[in-house]
């Protein structure tokens, strides 16, 4: 059973991203949006944890990067930048969604 995990809180303010990473099993997906996008930026303390998660596919919502002035080239390699339509497809493709609100 595949799970789409979503994170919308900054990893520097809340533990949501840490807990999400602890729960995301191989074959699952993680989508960062709203303040969660700060977890997708290169060179941060959380970026190493994201890179270290094996078998997990990461996504970040483009409009939320743009809104916060985060250029796409700042995003950790391997994290796919997606639009709202892809967000919807991800939710539909997976068996269920766990929102780490």
């Amino acid at each position: 059973m595949s799970i789409l995990h979503t994170v919308n809180k900054s990893p520097f303010e809340k533990s949501s991203m840490d807990t999400c990473l602890a729960y995301a099993k191989e074959g699952s997906s993680v989508l960062m949006y709203e303040d969660g996008i700060y977890g997708a930026i290169k060179g941060t303390a959380i970026a190493d944890k994201v890179s270290a998660a094996s078998g997990v596919k990461f996504y970040v919502l483009g409009p939320d990067l743009k809104a916060r002035g985060v250029a796409e080239d700042k995003v950790v390699d391997g994290i796919e930048i997606v639009d709202y339509a892809k967000f919807v497809s991800l939710a539909a493709e997976n068996d269920k969604v766990q929102a780490w609100v």
Binding site: M1, I3, S15, S16, T19, A22, Y23, K25, D95, K96, V97, Q98, A99, W100, V101
Partner: protein
């Protein structure tokens, strides 16, 4: 018939009880959902475990103490309350610090059993994987 198809519902609780409305809202949804005869379980992790701490007394903060309501869950066939071991330990708590929550097992001559099940993070991740629906609070 939709009503004949039993699904596994899990309510994931990650917030402390009184600072925000999440915990109370979750409990209300659980009680409403209990009317639909689904296979319901609750997970408590991160600050969510504070919801189950015994000895809550809100008499001086003008909020309803809803902690006694957890005792009623067994009567609604909500008998699986998974508590994540790591979250408990990180907060310096043990099972002794939580309310003793029990239910009467109708399949075992109404024997009184513990509703709280202490599980590791890895075990809880597996249990989450088995669910049909996750409700996140």
């Amino acid at each position: 018939m939709m009503s004949e198809q039993i699904k596994k519902f899990m309510y994931v609780n990650r917030r402390a009880p009184y600072g925000t409305i999440y915990a109370w809202e979750s409990l209300e949804v659980v009680l409403i959902g209990a009317a639909f005869d689904q296979d319901v379980s609750l997970a408590f992790m991160d600050d969510g475990i504070y919801q189950l701490v015994k000895g809550q007394d809100t008499s001086e903060v003008e909020m309803k103490n809803f902690s006694p309501t957890y005792q009623a869950l067994g009567d609604y066939d909500v008998t699986k309350l998974y508590v994540e071991k790591e979250s408990l330990e990180e907060r310096g708590l043990t099972l002794e610090d939580l309310m003793p929550l029990t239910y009467e097992d109708e399949d075992d001559d109404w024997a009184e059993k513990d509703s709280i099940r202490l599980v590791s993070r890895a075990e809880l991740a597996d249990i989450m994987d088995e669910q049909d629906v996750l409700f996140s609070f």
